[in-house]
């Protein structure tokens, strides 16, 4: 089966090509959507096969590299089009193809009747293909294809409603921000390549070879530089501070896209990349610290913003940012497994949440449409009490929310708690740990708060739309709800494969599974940190604490939005500035416009009108003008009078002779 790994990206590609070329002819949505879903599902099956086969192998042999064809060979630089299968990529494969197939399926229902249906599925398949390349890439360059490819597809999908200006802007913003990240990625790659090559004559960008060669790398120094660059790439792709602003805007895209790209898969690429290169990151303690801090900061920062948003998807978007922050926190504290674990669980419940919101929006839209009302179907202030109207959506949504809030027994709990514990107990950052843990904890609290705020505003209380529209509210069709249910199920039980040893009911399959991948990294870690043992009591305590935190968050939400909905209003009235700041996302977009965008345009104008036109052309045309001017003057010497001519001749003669007198 491993031999056929190349099929995995191929299927979606075929789907994309098929739909791209023929989709316009085939009007039949069933065929288009069917083909697309089928293709991604095929890759899912292959991935399952591969996973099985890997499980079959002994732990140390679970690495397989497949060279498809040589891509760029130039001098000592070699980059094959090659795929790497190891436990890590296997996990990702499962997530991407699995969640992917569900969302494809969902989309068939959700996108029903959209014009450019085929375009949508082309892009979606294309995305799946790029994502799989990213995951499977056995060297940085192949990964980079995927890396940019997903960026491209997210550009296309965000700009799917291209006639909306906001969509176009969001798309461009997303791509450019990602480009900034890619800049980092490239520089990081160059640095590693060049340093290893010039110092140890190991010219490679292949992960496995790098892993072998990583013993040659020093601690800190150039590695810090390289890893920081890589991390910049990660922040771009995974919407971390400072490059997170594109993700909320990306909600301009169709909801399934948000679910697939901006929650489950693409945005986690950064985390995956760090995991993939853990052995390098671990060698740069400073970078680890930066990662951890940025992660924690993003987690709390985004969470705060999330509390004040009224657009259902935007709330989810910020929560995604925040959750990604958790993952980076995990990476930063060396808890790679936990990070990847959270990545997976998050993929489940966040996808479920997005799809749920999608289903809600779908319903709302439908209802408002019938009611000829122009209210925003995404604005939670228009919703409320939907639980009766759409029970399945409500149920799945609720469980996912509980999961993300971190209530024990749900997938989110295991992963997030693990991260918090590691943040507290990791050997890397010394006293910083408390801070990291604290931030994480508060962020978790906020998460619980705004997620339940969302649930309460959407599904509880009184329905705030016109009665006329209300009659048209009803549950979405099966093709939409089936994925919801599957994901809901996963959101609940997906976490059990990674249950902490502490609870000891099940072995931590997940950790054992990934252990070989991160072995090297951990071994490096051993060399400069000493892991001090923490008592179980402490761990228990913290676990309890995090539960309490979650509950607190939930109850606050309950108080504010069920018991006495008046308070928020009063609160905002009390602190208008604060609320406005939070509501306007701390004005970060404006800041960036002020700092980067406008200066660039200004510089462009200046250079163009100022330098190009004035200086360079000024000189060029100036010379021409001067010459013409001289010409105009010289020609006047040709006065037409004989004695002037004679004079010039005589003068010439005199001067010539004089020259030889005085020479």
């Amino acid at each position: 089966m491993l031999e056929y790994v190349w099929l995995i990206p191929l299927f979606p590609l075929l789907g994309a090509v098929f739909n791209g070329l023929l989709g316009k002819k085939i009007k039949n949505e069933a065929v288009i959507g069917g083909i697309a879903t089928l293709m991604i599902f095929c890759s899912f099956l292959v991935s399952c096969g591969i996973l099985m086969q890997l499980i079959g192998l002994p732990a140390e042999e679970r690495v397989f590299e497949k060279v498809v064809f040589p891509w760029i060979y130039s001098g000592n630089f070699k980059a094959d089009m090659a795929f790497l299968v190891d436990p890590l990529s296997a996990i990702m494969l499962m997530v991407v193809t699995g969640v992917g197939s569900l969302i494809h399926l969902y989309s068939i229902g959700y996108m029903h009747g959209e014009e450019g249906f085929y375009r949508y599925f082309t892009y979606l398949n294309l995305f799946a293909m790029s994502m799989l390349l990213l995951v499977l890439g056995s060297n940085m360059l192949v990964m980079f294809i995927g890396w940019e490819g997903v960026g491209l597809c997210s550009y296309l999908l965000i700009g799917y409603y291209f006639h909306k200006k906001s969509a176009g802007d969001a798309a461009k913003k997303a791509f450019v921000m990602n480009r900034v990240g890619d800049f980092g990625f490239l520089i990081g790659m160059f640095t590693l390549y060049w340093w290893l090559g010039s110092n140890h004559n190991v010219w490679t960008i292949n992960f496995m070879e790098l892993k072998k060669a990583s013993t040659l790398l020093p601690y800190g120094g150039v590695v810090t530089l390289a890893t920081l660059c890589f991390f910049l790439g990660a922040t771009g792709k995974s919407a971390q501070i400072p490059l997170y602003t594109w993700l909320p805007d990306a909600m301009e895209g169709p909801t399934p896209v948000s679910a697939l790209i901006h929650a489950a898969t693409m945005v986690t690429a950064g985390v995956y990349m760090i995991g993939r290169m853990s052995f390098v990151f671990v060698k740069a303690p400073q970078t680890m610290m930066v990662v951890a801090i940025v992660g924690a900061a993003t987690a709390i920062f985004a969470a705060t913003i999330g509390t004040a948003q009224n657009d259902i998807k935007r709330v989810l978007a910020y929560s995604t940012v925040s959750q990604l922050g958790f993952m980076f926190l995990a990476m930063g504290v060396g808890a790679f497994t936990a990070g990847i674990f959270h990545l997976m669980t998050h993929a489940f419940f966040k996808a479920c949440l997005f799809l749920g919101s999608g289903s809600v929006i779908h319903a709302m839209h439908h209802a408002l449409h019938h009611a000829h009302s122009h209210d925003d179907p995404q604005d939670m202030r228009n919703m409320g009490g939907l639980r009766k109207a759409m029970p399945i959506t409500f149920a799945t949504f609720l469980v996912s929310t509980i999961a993300i809030a971190g209530i024990p027994g749900f997938s989110g709990f295991f992963s997030k708690d693990e991260i918090l514990w590691q943040a507290f107990s990791n050997p890397f950052h010394g006293n910083l740990n408390i801070l990291l843990w604290g931030t994480g904890a508060i962020a978790a609290c906020f998460t619980a708060f705004y997620m339940f705020r969302l649930v309460f505003m959407t599904f509880f209380g009184e329905c705030r739309i016109t009665a006329k529209a209300k009659d048209h509210l009803h549950e979405s069709p099966l093709v939409i709800t089936i994925p919801l249910m599957v994901l809901g199920f996963l959101a609940v039980f997906g976490g059990y494969i990674g249950m902490p040893k502490l609870l000891g009911m099940l072995p931590n399959y997940f950790e054992n599974w990934l252990e070989p991948v991160f072995a090297t990294a951990n071994s490096y870690a051993q060399t400069y940190v000493h892991v001090e043992e923490h008592g179980h009591a402490l761990e228990w305590g913290l676990m309890g604490l995090s539960v309490v935190i979650a509950v607190v968050g939930i109850s606050i939400a309950y108080v504010l939005y069920i018991v006495s909905p008046a308070i928020p209003a009063r609160f905002t009235a009390a602190f208008p500035a604060l609320h406005r700041a939070v509501f306007n996302k701390w004005y970060i977009d404006e800041l960036y416009d002020f700092l980067f965008v406008n200066p660039c345009k200004a510089a462009g104008n200046l250079l163009w009108k100022g330098f190009d036109v004035l200086v360079v052309d000024g000189i060029v045309d100036g010379v021409a003008k001067v010459v013409m001017g001289i010409s105009g003057m010289v020609k006047n010497l040709q006065s037409g009078y004989v004695h002037n001519y004679a004079f010039s001749m005589a003068l010439g003669a005199v001067v010539i002779v004089a020259f030889y007198i005085f020479r």
Partner: protein, 522 residues
């Protein structure tokens, strides 16, 4: 066959010109047909070059016949190609038919003269790429200007005359200095013939090399165009008819970079060593500068023009990195730029033909009206941005990594940030043209691309992906030649013969070993 194929290829268009002379000037379709046919024939003649090319550093398909023999001078008709010129030649023969096809409806009057100019242009360009004799090269180099001058000046836009003259004199000013340097070099080399291989590794003292390099570099820099002397390009591009811009961008600009790779650098290694920082600086400035300026352009064509300044900046950076990656990246980037920017100009031409405007503000939401066009446009845009999987990426990446591992590291870093900017201006333009509301009524009755236009674009699109996903054949054919070139450009010899400097003062013959003081009495 092997030794005549190059000449055959080069002068087939000339035969075409002769044929065109005898076709009545108002039977347009015949004229166009013949022109395209000739261009295609040329292309097919050029194909055996690829198949027959043996991958090594030698010049191949060489033809060397004495041409001028007078006094001390020996000029030969000495042509041949190696890995460096091979692909450029192919690019030329490949682009030409497309360019001619693109004018099918664009040019309605004076078709005959137009076609003649195009074919003459092809002769000039091919000749310049295959010449192995400096003098011959210079001849072709100059010959190229004439038809281009007419193409811009006669069939151009509003400012056509200004643009044409500016183009001509700018280039002329550069190349005449090159002529002086060329002659000087010749006498330094001690007469004989102008075969470039004689000039390689000629132990000139650094001072002389500096002067000569400057002269050559200036001429080529104008053609590239390198940062401060690029201002003729946007003008020429905007004013030229579509085919003109396509050829200008796709092929003629390459003359400059090719000149560096073939002449300026291998001939004067010491000078190269000395001027690398300067050239790299200019290249990098060009990248950033052009990107910034492109961002604020109102005219699509001008924007694309500036974008090609940026791309050529990458090329320059690559070739001055002077290592396998850098140079082959540069060479690839030349080809890529030829393909994608050529395609971009064609695209601009398409909408210009439909709307007779190129102002971005006049467009918007075209995707709705012309989906096929949108798709093609998008692919080309992304290839020009350098998205992995398209041709643009491979070249850019190799250039950057090459520069990074050479001593131009920091330049590489800055240049990489150009990658971001390129995304900004291209996507912004794309968005403003293709996305948004289709509000302008004129745009609402736009028709999508017709068969001919699609046929024009297809080969380019194909190349975009082929070169992006499987560049190996291109790289491996050129790499031996590039290795050789790097060897020549890196060697730093002390001046074998100590010769006096270039005279700072005008008069007083300096005792060049060539000077034969004439015996006055007879």
């Amino acid at each position: 066959m092997n030794d005549t194929i190059l000449s055959l290829m080069t002068f087939t268009p000339l035969i075409g010109v002769l044929i065109l002379f005898f076709i009545p000037k108002d039977s347009h379709s015949i004229l166009r047909g013949v022109a395209v046919a000739v261009a295609l024939v040329t292309f097919f003649i050029s194909l055996p070059l690829v198949t027959g090319f043996v991958t090594n550093a030698e010049y191949q398909f060489v033809q060397d016949v004495p041409w001028i023999q007078a006094g001390p001078f020996r000029m030969n008709y000495h042509v041949g190609i190696d890995g460096i010129s091979l692909w450029l030649v192919i690019l030329t023969t490949f682009i030409m038919p497309i360019a001619i096809l693109s004018t099918w409806t664009a040019v309605e009057e004076k078709v005959k003269e137009y076609m003649i100019c195009l074919l003459l242009l092809e002769v000039g360009m091919l000749g310049a790429f295959i010449s192995l004799d400096l003098f011959l090269f210079y001849i072709f180099w100059e010959v190229m200007l004439i038809p281009m001058y007419f193409i811009i000046g006669i069939w151009g836009g509003k400012q056509k005359i200004y643009a044409a003259i500016k183009f001509f004199i700018y280039t002329m000013a550069g190349s005449v200095l090159m002529l002086v340097a060329l002659i000087f070099l010749y006498f330094k080399a001690g007469g004989g013939d102008f075969n470039i291989t004689r000039f390689y590794g000629l132990g000139l003292d650094p001072a002389t090399q500096t002067w000569l390099f400057l002269a050559f570099a200036f001429a080529f820099a104008i053609k590239v165009p390198l940062f401060p002397v690029h201002t003729w390009l946007p003008l020429a591009h905007t004013e030229a008819p579509t085919a003109g811009s396509v050829i200008l961008a796709a092929i003629m600009l390459k003359m400059g970079t090719y000149g560096y790779v073939r002449f300026a650098m291998p001939l004067f290694p010491d000078a190269v060593d000395r001027f690398t920082p300067l050239m790299a600086t200019l290249a990098v400035i060009g990248i950033i500068y052009a990107a910034l300026v492109a961002m604020v352009q109102e005219d699509v064509k001008k924007l694309v023009a500036y974008s090609s300044v940026a791309h050529l900046g990458f090329v320059m950076l690559g070739i001055f990195a002077l290592n396998q990656q850098g140079v082959s990246g540069g060479m690839l980037q030349m080809l890529n730029h030829g393909v994608s920017t050529g395609a971009l100009f064609l695209i601009v031409g398409f909408i210009y033909e439909r709307r007779h405007t190129r102002l971005i503000t006049d467009f918007g939401g075209l995707s709705k009206q012309m989906p096929v066009f949108a798709t093609i446009f998008m692919i080309v845009t992304f290839s020009s941005i350098g998205l992995p999987g398209t041709n643009g990426f491979v070249g850019e990446f190799l250039v950057l990594i090459g520069a990074y591992e050479s001593k131009l590291r920091w330049f590489a870093v800055i240049a990489t940030s150009g990658v971001i900017l390129s995304a900004v201006y291209m996507l912004w333009m794309f968005q403003r043209v293709m996305f948004g509301e289709l509000d302008n009524p004129k745009n609402q009755k736009l028709v999508d691309l017709n068969a001919r236009e699609i046929v024009i674009m297809l080969p380019l699109l194909a190349l975009i992906f082929i070169m992006g996903l499987y560049p190996t054949p291109f790289i491996e054919k050129m790499s031996p030649a590039i290795d050789k070139m790097i060897q020549q450009s890196k060697q730093k010899q002390v001046a074998a013969v100590t010769l006096p400097q270039m005279p700072a003062m005008p008069m007083a013959p300096n005792g060049m070993d060539m000077t034969m003081p004439p015996t006055m009495n007879k």
